[in-house]
């Protein structure tokens, strides 16, 4: 079973009220070093077989047509979840 990750973020020029609310709360909890927060969405799409280039292309199309609204959002990532995790481990970034 394969899994595709799709990340959608509000466009940079669109004010993000949710991110602003989180940014306002962080200093109150002692996290004063973060100057700005933007909140987006992560979708995980599962398929029966492996994540082929065709599956990724279909996920990219779904991301553009359904999962995001191009007026207010950008699709910032469409990736095979496993390859993504492997790359993260290889680069030593996983805590």
């Amino acid at each position: 079973m394969g899994r595709v990750v799709v990340d959608v973020m509000p466009k940079p020029e669109i004010l993000d009220p949710q991110g602003k609310a989180v940014a306002g709360a962080l200093p109150r909890l002692g996290f004063g070093q973060f100057t700005s927060v933007r909140q987006g969405k992560r979708f995980e799409l599962e398929v029966d077989g492996p994540v082929t280039p065709e599956v990724l292309a279909a996920a990219a199309a779904a991301a553009e047509q359904v999962l995001s609204n191009p007026v207010i959002e950008d699709v910032v990532r469409v990736a095979d979840a496993e390859a993504d995790a492997a790359a993260t481990i290889a680069s030593g970034n996983l805590a």
């Binding site: 004010l15 009220p17 949710q18 609310a21 609204n69 007026v71």
Partner: protein, 231 residues
Amino acid sequence: MTRIGVVTFPGTLDDRDAARAVRLAGGEPVALWHADADLRGVDAVVLPGGFSYGDYLRAGAISRFAPVMGEVVEAAGKGMPVLGICNGFQVLTEAHLLPGSMIKNDHLHFVCREQVLSVESTDTAWTGEYAAGERITIPLKNQDGQYVADESTLDELEGEGRVVFRYEDTNPNGSRRGIAGISNAKGNVVGLMPHPEHAVEAGFGPDGARGPRSGTDGLRFFTSVMRSLVS
């Protein structure tokens, strides 16, 4: 009698009020179901307010793909009057019948108030019975009501006289340029965040000149469309 369809999606809340507004205006409301690709021969369509499909993905995003919406988009293209109220307005933007989109209110709170609007355009199918510049009061209630579009789209809307309603006295949700409602180029498709269908009968509407709850400023949306259909 003029037949006006009112669409019900899963999670629609204001379909009965919209049907009642049509009846009080002298029309015949016709219930339309989201899953039926059938407009049942209506002369106009209202997409009412609510939280269709829970608004989980984005407000109106999933409703846009409902079977009935294919028919609505086709009929709107041929000039049928379509009115989107609140969630219905969000559905119209997701369906690309109207430009721009709605995001969360700038202050992050749900807002519910009696809102003053100015009628900026009387050249639409839904506003012919108002006077240009008239101030009307109808309820506003939403979470995702902040109208946004890029500057060139906003300039185009203003330049073509397609800003139909603007918030007066206060901007309740941070909408760009105080825009409360817009139309398409032909003027048959109108969307707005406030709720005209909640201000159609004395005793049940906002406070008005004739006393508490006497406001019926929303009724002329529905009489306007009926007049536009006969003429």
